[in-house]
Symmetry: C2
Subunit: 189 residues, 2 copies
DNA sequence: CCATGAGTATACCGAGCGGTATACCTAGGG
DNA sequence: CCCTAGGTATACCGCTCGGTATACTCATGG
């Protein structure tokens, strides 16, 4: 478990790494923002690489818990809630886009943080598939629809940082809503 | 116009910036890869910021020329060619994903390179809309379909760097192919 | 009682960063 | 003939990077 000081370091890192980027923020800046010396930071995390991993894990855990909470309270189709959770999640911020995509763009090949990122993204895609299967058991190809919703979401969040706002996520959600209606219904009504 | 040495610098930067990331590559490394002194690099580009802008512009110009070439030789629906061009373009490499999304994730707010990136992405989205309008003049909402294809493509290329290959772009292309069939046809046949 | 663990403050290390300065070389054109 | 443009090579600047070292404080609990 993390000491109180370690918790403050991770909290400061989560804020700074997201807002400024991994390579743009030094350990000294993180330590200062946490009100802690570099020695304490290294006693808790050992290296910047470890701190980066902890940052990504924390970011996933917090967001995932929020997603599950929203899903438990939502009506069908729950897949749309995933879009909302990306925009609405409290505390983490979203104006700089997806923390995981941003990190993946910065990390060098072979960095262990990339595994955390891959697991996070795969979890999101798998969640789409799970929700679609459960909410519409008779659907023809839930895996394909899951990939479709996933790509829409990823395209939208990838542009959130560029646009400066999340309007494309809302747009992607609207498109997803249409796609989730069985296409056969459109023509036969 | 660029001197021969300047051209070599830009060529080396295009390779290194894409493969390693903007912040991970110093001007000294670019100069050495180009077989040129730092003095020459600064005589040609003035600053790393300017070199970064030139890199992004070059990347856009080369890819765009290739896209137009492919479009001129393609049959309808030409929108699918945009997906192909992202995967097939020669020389630039695509295993690290989209150079523009990667750069956007690294650049600090206010960096002039962000404008180049926004223009590039808007050009792609607008090209989708243009192609859809021309290839299927009677379509109900080409703008919406353009946004849809754009988001699919962007989601796919955003993951190309994470996955290490471009299979999601192919997947996005297949999905796009289905979406471009008028949904009313599906139910009424 | 005092040892341990968590923390502080400060200074340091070698390396690399973006960018500049000095001095020299060389081919082409007025 | 010699000046200029576009190079070369090398050294330097102040700064920041990730990471370490030394020495001190202080609360807790066996």
């Amino acid at each position: 478990m993390l000491t109180p000081a370690g918790e403050r370091v991770l909290s400061a890192a989560t804020e700074l790494f997201y807002r400024e980027g991994l390579n743009a923020v030094g350990v000294a800046a993180v330590a200062e923002a946490a009100g802690v010396t570099k020695k304490t930071l290294y006693a808790c995390f050992g290296s910047k690489t470890e701190l980066t991993i902890a940052y990504l894990r924390r970011r996933h855990d917090v967001w995932w818990a929020y997603l599950e909470e929203r899903l438990a309270a939502a009506g069908t189709p729950r897949a749309l809630v995933v879009f909302d959770a990306y925009v609405d999640h409290p505390g983490l911020g979203s104006d700089r886009g997806c923390a995981f995509l941003n990190a993946a763009a910065e990390l060098p090949a072979g960095h262990p943080g990339l595994d955390v990122i891959r697991r996070h993204k795969e979890a999101v895609r798998a969640k789409f598939a799970e929700l679609l299967r459960e909410d519409a058991p008779g659907a023809s190809d839930p895996e394909r629809l899951a990939e479709q919703l996933f790509l829409l979401l990823e395209g939208a969040v990838a542009h959130t940082g560029i646009d400066g706002d999340a309007h494309r996520v809302t747009l992607a959600r609207e498109i997803a809503e249409v796609l989730m209606r069985d296409p056969r219904e459109v023509g036969t009504r």
